[in-house]
């Protein structure tokens, strides 16, 4: 299950922003929770280092796409900074996601032509 470090892929900038927004659709989470979620859903293919995670979180917070608040966790009696998606963030996510899907399908078309000449 655990992959060696070489198999992991560092995320492109901007992509991480998209993944964070998507993760928060399922509910508020703190920084580590978001990182864990991304790593686990991709079976550890994607690694999220704090060096890119926290700048990204604060970049999104500054733009107003997510909102951070210090709160006590649901299972643990301790305060963490929980992030949640804002209405503007949801709108931004929808736009970015469709852009991303267009990009992926465009690249796929080039890499795997449907019919060979």
């Amino acid at each position: 299950m655990a992959r060696s470090r070489d198999d992991r892929i560092e995320l492109l900038q901007g992509t991480l922003d998209l993944l964070i927004l998507k993760t928060l659709v399922f509910g508020p989470a703190h920084g580590r929770g978001i990182a864990k979620h991304i790593e686990q859903t991709t079976s550890n293919v994607l690694s999220v280092e704090h060096g890119s995670l926290y700048p990204a979180l604060h970049r999104l917070e500054r733009r107003g796409w997510i909102a951070g608040r210090w709160e006590t966790g649901p299972k643990i009696n301790r305060e963490f900074k929980y992030y949640r998606l804002t209405a503007a963030g949801r709108k931004h996510l929808v736009a970015q996601q469709s852009k991303w899907e267009q990009l992926v399908s465009a690249i796929a078309q080039v890499l795997r032509p449907a019919t060979e000449g």
């Binding site: 703190h30 580590r32 280092e49 704090h50 700048p55 604060h58 500054r62 107003g64 900074k81």
Partner: protein
Amino acid sequence: MFSRLLSRTRPPTDDEIARELRDHLELDAEELAERGAGDDARFAAQRRFGNVSLTIEATRDEWGELRWRRLAQDLGTDIAYGIKRLRHAPGFALLTVLTTAIGVGATTAIFSVVNAVVLRPIPVADADRVVAFYETNPTNNAWTTSDPNFLDYRERTRSFATMAAVAGRSAGGFAAVALLLAVIGLFGVVSFTVQERVPELGVRLAFGATPHRIVRLVMRDAGTVVAIGAVIGCVSAVLLSRFLSSMLFATATTDPPTYIAVVFVLLASAAVASYLPARRAGRVDPLVAMRER
């Protein structure tokens, strides 16, 4: 709309960013411990985690110039709080402001003039051949020379190549005395003000404030009030020194180092004057502190 923008764009302090990262690292460590990983594994995980201070810096940079705005806001809050205290305890606060203002004003004004007239080297050739002489007077010990006397000396001298009069000599002593008086006065006013607050500080202690926070609170309050006084003092000193120098026929340029030095001395005196009683107040039993008065 405006308030929503404000609350949304409030940048975090460095402490908050550091706390977020620390939480992250602690949870990692806890998870590793739960899985029964040895110290080696934990150490490796920590190393893998990379440079935390770099992350803090990068995260802080995401906020750009907003951080400066926050610092300015906090400063504004402190000043607003100082003014509020001024209204609450107008007597003491006003006394502090006045003491500081007069102290800074008088000292810097006098010193600027003295500096321009006396302490700057006299523009003569062969400075090593220059000597100073004074008059003494058995009856009243005055040591200034009147204009006619000076003119007579210059006329009849054979020992000196030439002669010049220097004014304002005794003002240097005035400046030192003024500063000393200001320091003593400020020290007294500030430590008395803090002493007056001991019951209030006792309440804060009873509600769980740490001695450290008490000291910080008291010193910030004193600092704000003294800073307000210093600003008023500096402004009036500039005006006063212009006036004095025009009376002494000298060009007293506003001398920034003097202002900085005097303000620094007074702030330091206020810091000591508030620190000592605050530390004492932080140590006593809250019940005793509340009963005092």
